[in-house]
């Protein structure tokens, strides 16, 4: 699978850093910053200390100017670090969007009135195309907009969108009719019915999503923000409350000075959950970006987060659980014929069979029985037909055929064959019960035996399902096979459940059933008949090779068309939530140490006894407050890599995961600032 995306850039690529820095200054504009209410409050706080700084320069404020000045500088840095984190996360997306936009150079289209190749056309610009217009696209031309092929067939190079360099067939009717604007027809002519207005095409949407322009806060993000805003308000009141309390205490103690505005503002910024608030936008953007690196485009952040909650996965058997092609694994002779005899006949019957199944028979005959043959000259090839449901060749008057048991038996009878081997039924049954497909082989009127065609389960898929199970996710295999075959494969792949002989309405019903029970259902699909089920599923992943209706019904599109991607999507969804939760816990745990740094420092002049609370033995009140402010600021850039990469996800039961994360981010969050603040205090001691 090739990558169309610019080679994965390190988050700290020089060019990216530079443009992010510029962007982060632009983002200080209060009109955009208010979207992040906590950081908006910090910006106001920084303005307040700026005023106290000027006042100490003029002497209106008794605090030393170096102190108010340094506090102000670090408060501004706190805000800038936060906008920088967001800009950095967006920057990576923007670089990718720019490369996509290149493929959207101005294209002209041949507008036709009827879906006929001979009809006359008028040339218009792509921007003039509207939904429902018909355009003619011929070899070497670029398709001007998203649409459905209504006539003809063509080989299309879609690498601009998917990164897949091998061209794909697009033809009218069936599941391969969707074309994407910006892709190029290599050969053939097609008439395309436009399905999207300019600016709303798939490519446009992709660019918008990647740039983060269309990013909306997810419900979960909003809920977290509610908590953060509430905490910010409480801390604002806590700090405001200290002022009258300290004025009263000064009056009563008869000495000392009330806590100054600078210190109160500094305390507020330290207590407010700035760490998580600063990194919150970056976490979401980076999550989408990580998915994009895996060639998956989520049409909303909500879809990714929903993926983290999924507890039922509906997986297509073909391509996801099994390799998709049945392969011959053994020859089972009947009626006293030898295995060698059967292998030879099977080989003959398959020589002209170009299907993967046919190839696998040839390969098995070669590998197991050392047989190799070319299609003999003069052989009459009998292709598979719906009537006979047999294929094979006629060579020098001998008929070699293979096919389903009943078809072959019927064929043998037409040739006058009377004795059907008594053990045939037994053999056929046995193969079918094992989840495989029996193909019966005959040479003229003699039935020689059966080929055991088996669906091969992908290596390592069982472990993957085991992991999913340990995360509480149920896997359900969807297949068109009969229940017997389905059961055998389900058992081998170790899925939790299966739906055999699945029809579109069956899938829809199954999804509804699970949803009724409160499950979140994810599914993958590509065909038009999957569209209703995709629309119903909570997380719907459409293959990029799929049809337009399927792509529209989905909320996630997989450019590689690889159904196992669903597992990656679930992982990223969980990572986003975990990163948010862990950083919230970390941010709040930090406050304990900050209190121990600032409260004794702020109140020392009133009550020298409170010096006992200075457990970190910080050098002076000024240095204590500064250390807390500096720690609060630099923890943000230090955690940017974590926010961009996401907390590492390891599948384990919820309870163990919680304890694990609580130890790291909760207990760690309590201890880290004690160490950090003390270290900064020591550095300040050396400088001052």
């Amino acid at each position: 699978m090739s990558k169309h995306i610019p080679p994965p850039q390190s988050a700290f690529d020089k060019h990216l850093l530079k443009s992010a820095l510029l962007e982060s200054i632009k983002k200080l504009d209060p009109r955009t910053l208010w979207r992040n209410p906590v950081m908006f409050c910090v910006e106001i706080a920084s303005c307040i200390t700026l005023v106290t700084f000027f006042m100490s320069l003029t002497g209106a404020n008794k605090e030393p100017a170096w102190f108010t000045g340094t506090v102000t500088a670090w408060l501004w840095l706190t805000v800038i670090f936060s906008t920088f984190a967001e800009a950095l996360a967006e920057g990576r997306g923007k670089a990718r969007a720019a490369s996509l936009r290149k493929s959207r150079t101005d294209v002209t289209a041949k507008l036709v009135t009827k879906p006929e190749f001979k009809s006359a056309f008028t040339t218009v610009g792509a921007s003039q195309l509207r939904m429902g217009d018909l355009i003619l696209v011929e070899g070497g031309e670029m398709i001007a907009g998203d649409g459905d092929v209504v006539a003809g067939a063509a080989l299309v190079n879609e690498s601009a969108v998917t990164g897949e360099s091998a061209p794909v067939i697009r033809e009218s009717g069936g599941d391969r009719s969707a074309v994407t604007g910006g892709t190029t027809v290599i050969s053939g002519s097609i008439i395309v019915k436009i399905t999207a207005n300019p600016g709303e095409t798939f490519l446009d949407r992709m660019i918008g999503l990647i740039e983060g322009a269309k990013r909306r806060k997810t419900p979960n993000e909003i809920a977290l923000e509610v908590l953060l805003i509430a905490l910010t308000l409480v801390f604002m009141l806590v700090c405001a409350n200290i002022s009258p309390l300290s004025i009263y205490s000064v009056k009563m103690a008869g000495h000392g000075t009330p806590v100054s505005l600078t210190v109160l503002v500094a305390l507020f910024v330290c207590l407010a959950p700035t760490t998580i608030a600063a990194l919150l936008p970056a976490i979401g953007i980076a999550g989408m970006d990580r998915l994009f690196q895996k060639n998956v485009i989520a049409l909303s952040g909500r879809a990714i987060e929903a993926a983290g909650d999924v507890n039922v996965l509906l997986l297509d058997k073909t391509g996801t659980i099994t390799h998709g092609n049945r392969q011959a694994v053994s020859f089972v002779p009947v009626g006293g014929h030898s295995e060698q005899e059967l292998a030879e006949a099977a080989l003959m019957a398959s020589l002209a069979d170009e299907t993967p199944e046919g190839r696998s028979v040839v390969i098995l005959a070669k590998e197991k029985h050392g047989l190799t043959r070319e299609t003999p000259f003069g052989a009459e090839v009998v292709e598979f037909s719906a009537d006979t449901r047999l294929s094979g060749i006629n060579l020098e008057g001998t008929h070699y055929r293979k096919g389903a048991s009943d078809s072959t038996v019927a064929f043998v009878k037409t040739l006058g064959g009377k004795s059907i081997p008594s053990d045939l039924e037994n053999v056929v049954d046995k193969i079918a019960r094992g989840g495989a497909t029996p193909l019966v082989v005959c040479r003229d009127s003699q039935i020689l035996g059966a080929i055991n065609l088996k669906d091969i389960v992908k290596a390592g898929i069982q472990e993957r399902f085991l992991q999913l199970r340990s995360m509480g996710i149920r896997t359900v295999m969807i297949t068109g096979d009969n229940p017997l075959t389905a059961a055998a494969i389900a058992a081998e792949a170790q899925v939790d459940d299966f739906l055999a002989q699945a029809k579109p309405e069956e899938k829809l019903r199954l999804i509804r059933e699970y949803q009724e029970q409160g499950f979140m259902v994810a599914m993958t699909g590509d065909g038009t008949n999957d569209a209703p089920a995709l629309a119903q599923a909570d997380v719907a992943v459409a293959m990029n090779t799929g049809t337009q209706p399927a792509r529209e019904a989905a909320n996630i599109i997989d450019l590689d068309s690889n159904p196992t991607k669903l597992l990656d999507i679930v992982e990223v969804g969980k990572q986003i939530l975990m990163t948010r939760g862990n950083l919230t816990t970390f941010s709040i745990s930090n406050d304990i140490a900050k209190y121990f740094a600032i409260i004794p420092a702020a109140l020392l002049s009133i009550y020298p006894q409170l010096g006992v609370l200075n457990v970190m033995q910080l050098a002076s009140p000024f240095s204590a407050i500064l250390s807390a402010v500096i720690f609060n600021a630099i923890i943000i850039p230090l955690l940017v890599p974590l926010a961009l990469k996401g907390t590492r996800f390891r599948p384990m039961p919820a309870e163990r995961l919680l304890i694990h994360n609580l130890l790291i981010y909760g207990v760690g969050g309590i201890i880290a600032p004690f160490v950090g603040i003390k270290a900064i205090d020591m550095v300040i001691g050396m400088v001052v």
Binding site: V226, A230, V238, N311, M471, G518, S589, P653, E655
Partner: protein, 594 residues
């Protein structure tokens, strides 16, 4: 603690825990409309009441109707009590001929009793007639408790029900709570209290001549009732000689039982449960503590039964018990360590100031944590006289939001709001949209939970700031300085959290505390109540998400530990600066020996 105190404490908790399950499952049956032992007698009574009031007991309400019914009912009760207090001099059963309350005091008192706070800016036996006590205050003790329980039950139904907007019928929940739960237990408890010597009569107060007249120094008060002070700030006193004492009488037992059972706390007498007619013996003391913790404790089991997993209830009870017992331990330690400055004088190290010898140290400490952990507010000990760290304990228990058992109903619903916040953060930490009891926690639940847990704290922060800048509020302190700050903080916390106990040492019957206090009590009661019902409405409409391996179990130790941490951290972060300037600095000063 001596061995008697150990025995008493362990025995007490054993009895409490033994009662949780039977009472809890009984209450679950009552609220689920199942038959109980009392049904044969009470169902007819219930039906008569519904017929009189025109209530259709099968008609359920959505959250808005439930809320309106609750608010309307409380408003009517408030107006009735306010009028009764303003017209006290005209009403019967007033042998002492008490005058009417001032409007400020009547407002404060009426709100106080409607909100289950029972903050008393008046002295019971010196201001309230028997009519006021029985028809006004005692009735409110039942009704305000029942209101809290009805709200809690509506929230539980929100968790249990799926895809509906109906939460039950407020009138039915209110009636059943009163008839099936509060009245029978209060009746038994009152009888037991009478057996211990609690009085129950309508006699006029008795004047008893003293065998030996005595004199004492009485603080002088100005016209407004604030203590007068000389230039140095020492309160002025005058010598008074006493020849006879007046012994107040009254229907005490009937009010005493519901005072504790409904976590109301408004004493018949000013001395509250320290008064020998309210709480005469160590046994009655233990019984009263038991009554305080009984319903809040048992409700956790009711919750467990109704949500179909009793372990969920035990988990909440475990968290409550853990914090309660830890608080008791610290208080007991602080008081038995006493004041080193006093110990130097050679009068023993245990701090018995403000405590009754008949209850002992453990009996006093246990009462103090029980009454402040719940929103009861009855007292058998002067909290003002506790050591600084000792006093920090009841203050902190109130500031945590009245969830350590908490008020009847309100304790459970506030605790559940904390659980939702805890679930939200921990849910994120394991990578899932958080869910509690099968219901997804989303934006609306977050808003409502935050309103529930932060309203009281925010009110305290704002009002204590205003108080420190208001001369009248500062002048009410009997002990200016860090201790005075604790007194004001305690008073405001007590009202905002609907506790109602007083630290004392503060003259609360002034406009500042009467009016701002009324505001605090109203906000502290109704903002969370409405938020809880709104949340119940939104929860009930959600579908149920079955638990899987990926769901965080909320009925096991790790979550209980996390919930405990969330409660303690939220409390500590909100009030650390204020506490540092009050009890903490006071303790450090004491240890510093000045």
């Amino acid at each position: 603690m001596n061995s008697y105190e150990w025995l008493q404490t362990i025995g007490f908790f054993a009895v409490l825990l033994l009662l949780v399950k039977p009472l809890g499952s009984f209450m679950a049956r009552v609220y689920q409309g199942e038959r109980t032992l009392l049904s044969p007698v009470l169902v007819p009574c219930e039906n008569v009441l519904y017929r009189i009031c025109g209530v259709n007991q099968d008609e359920e309400m959505n959250w808005k109707r439930y809320t309106i019914a609750m608010l309307l009912f409380n408003l009517i009760l408030f107006v009735a009590l306010f009028a009764m207090l303003m017209l006290q001099h005209l009403l019967p059963l007033n042998p002492q001929k008490f005058p009417a309350f001032t409007w400020q005091l009547a407002l404060n008192t009426a709100i106080s009793f409607v909100t289950n706070t029972n903050w008393q800016a008046y002295g019971g036996e010196q201001a309230a007639s028997y009519f006021t006590q029985m028809v006004g205050l005692a009735v409110h003790n039942f009704i305000s408790a029942a209101t809290g329980m009805a709200i809690a039950i509506a929230l539980i139904r929100g968790f249990v029900r799926r895809r509906t907007e109906l939460l039950g019928n407020f009138w039915v929940d209110l009636t059943r709570t009163t008839l099936y739960i509060l009245l029978p237990i209060a009746f038994i408890a009152a009888t037991l209290l009478v057996s211990q010597g609690v009085i129950q009569n309508f006699n006029a107060y008795k004047a008893i001549p003293l065998v030996q007249s005595t004199s004492y120094n009485k603080p002088r008060l100005d016209a407004k009732g604030s203590p007068l002070k000389d230039a140095a700030g020492t309160p002025l006193t005058e010598s008074v000689t006493v020849n006879a004492v007046t012994i107040p009488m009254g229907p005490v037992a009937s009010q005493e039982a519901i005072k504790e059972l409904g976590t109301n706390g408004g004493g018949f007498f000013n001395a509250n449960s320290a008064h020998p007619y309210e709480n005469p013996t160590p046994l009655s003391n233990m019984l009263e503590i038991l009554l305080i913790l009984l319903i809040p404790g048992a409700l956790t089991y009711t919750f467990g039964v109704m949500v179909g997993n009793t372990r969920q209830g035990w988990m909440l009870l475990g968290v409550m018990l853990f914090i309660l017992i830890a608080s008791f331990g610290v208080l007991q330690w602080a008081e038995s360590s006493g004041n080193p400055l006093v110990a130097k004088l050679g009068v023993g190290s245990i701090n018995m100031e403000g405590k009754d010898v008949r209850f002992g140290l453990a009996g006093s400490s246990l009462f103090a944590v029980a009454t402040t952990g719940t929103s009861c507010g009855a007292v058998n000990t002067m909290h003002d006289s506790l050591t600084p760290i000792g006093g920090l304990i009841p203050l902190s228990l109130i500031l945590l939001g009245e969830i350590i058992f908490g008020g009847v109903g309100s304790g459970l619903y506030t605790m559940l709001a904390f659980a939702i916040i805890a679930v939200f953060v921990s849910g994120l930490m394991i990578g899932r949209t958080p869910e509690y009891l099968g219901k997804k926690v989303e934006v609306r639940e977050m808003w409502m939970s935050i309103l529930v847990i932060l309203t009281a704290g925010v009110t305290v922060l704002i009002l204590s700031g205003i108080a420190m800048l208001t001369p009248q509020a500062v002048a009410s302190m009997a002990n200016p300085g860090a201790h005075g700050l604790s007194e004001v903080l305690y008073a405001l916390a007590s009202m905002a959290n609907n506790n109602g106990s007083a630290f004392a040492g503060l003259n609360a019957n002034v406009n500042f505390y009467n009016l701002f206090g009324s505001l605090a009590m109203t906000l502290g009661r109704y903002v969370p109540a409405i938020a809880v019902l709104a949340m119940a409405g939104s929860l009930a409409e959600k579908k149920y998400v079955p638990p899987s391996l990926g769901t965080l179990p909320t009925d096991k130790a790790p979550f209980a530990l996390w919930l405990t941490l969330v409660i303690l951290i939220v409390g500590a972060l909100t009030f650390f600066p204020a506490l540092a300037l009050g009890p903490i600095v006071e303790q450090l000063t004491m240890l510093g020996g000045t």
